[in-house]
Symmetry: D2
Subunit: 147 residues, 4 copies
């Protein structure tokens, strides 16, 4: 795995993930070279992130004051090519938990236990009406730390 | 062009289109055989349909009682393969205009003036609050006939 | 369920399906009304179709003379709205098996056992080099009938 | 515009772009909050990148030894929300041109001349047969510097 700035120490970083979703590379997600499309990791990351947030009790439209998650930035490093029908586990965790935002890290591992993709991105919680950041509850923070 | 049930007479059907949007087949829309993905026509049809509706003054969220367009069915016939970077005109028209729904027809023509895709689909106008069909205004009907 | 031309008798038609894949509506597959995008059924149908073909031993790139599946037409009827995170079973079967093509039928059923989508489409098997249709082996035909 | 690590000085960085493609946010690219999907910028960046490479004479499948472009990493910062039907110019340039790779920068500007997205990513040129990096020709390098 090549070096990336957001991973301080690869082995401990990889071992710190617990939560994942299984993904199979769809036919519609391959391009004319047979590779997984470069856009697809961000679809998988999003899906993994949503499952993590649901697990942590951050509902998407719960009508209370918990704020809607908005993407601040996103990045992905491509370490190994992925192909049609590859089975991949998309790991996700809240690497840093701030007052109104979290830094989320991602890792895609194939069936040979190779790290194929790594990534990260910041998520800010916004009140839809006011457009202003909303603090995360201590309950949600606690759950995110456990996942 | 092979026969399809929704086209009575091909030549007059083709000539009856006026409104179109230009589309270029994107790299992310090709699959591992280099062909345009089978899903892509429905993205193009949607885009063409929305431009037609805008042109006819059917706004998507105008706050009045004009109803939101909901897809009842969709179909597409693939007459000629399309490839990455092909330039295509997506023609669209309201073939039949009912009280609360319209039957929309589609045709994709490449730069060699070949018909590559044909299609159709019914659109029903629904009141979001009640879930019930909403009649089209005579003004909108009139505009749709002209396009 | 509204009537559609390709379904002769709804109850026996529904009961004739055996093979399915599970799908969860992804966040990226919803539109600004919260509904599943109209394009998504065709992504699910494709995925279900590929799994059916794999199960029947129709490989996608097996190097022999078995032909590559090419879509002739596709259609989908929308019976009930689907939303983010809905769990759906996408049923698929080879309704009619011809010499060089098959007519594939589709049905999406939600967790309340409601039929939300139905569809069909013709698949033709083509030799990539010659561009000509290739007959299906009796072995593949036999397997398709069983699924 | 918030600070991002890959932009040393915002004003001169913005002014250094020349090449762009026009994009309209498609309906299918919005999510249930009405926002542009977080995945869409990477589709637009890819399309802009391909147009830049074509303009520079880097063909995708030209049969010679020029190498196929493979994505090493990708990142995007979201500065301002984008919505359905927004018209955006996607600027793209080769920020750094190495022996076998280039660092590409991206900027999306809306009709009010606001920077909505910025991004970057490394592209490596690979020989499909050997899997090894291929040096860029001086001709291509020269053209990339001009665009």
């Amino acid at each position: 795995m090549k070096n990336v700035a957001y991973i301080e120490e690869p082995v401990s970083w990889q071992n710190s993930f617990r939560f994942f979703i299984p993904i199979t590379i769809r036919f519609s997600e391959t391009d004319m070279f047979g590779h997984m499309n470069n856009v697809s990791p961000f679809i998988y990351f999003e899906q993994a992130r949503i499952e993590l947030l649901k697990e942590a009790g951050v509902l998407l439209d719960d009508g209370d004051n918990s704020g809607v998650p908005v993407v601040g930035d996103l990045q992905c490093d491509f370490h190994k090519q992925l192909y049609f029908d590859d089975k991949v586990r998309i790991y996700v965790k809240a690497q840093n938990i701030g007052t109104t935002s979290i830094d989320i890290h991602y890792m895609a591992v194939n069936e040979s236990e190779e790290v194929c993709l790594t990534g990260r991105g910041r998520l800010v919680f916004i009140n839809v009406s006011t457009g202003k950041p909303v603090p995360l509850s201590s309950n949600v923070k606690q759950k995110l730390k456990m996942l």
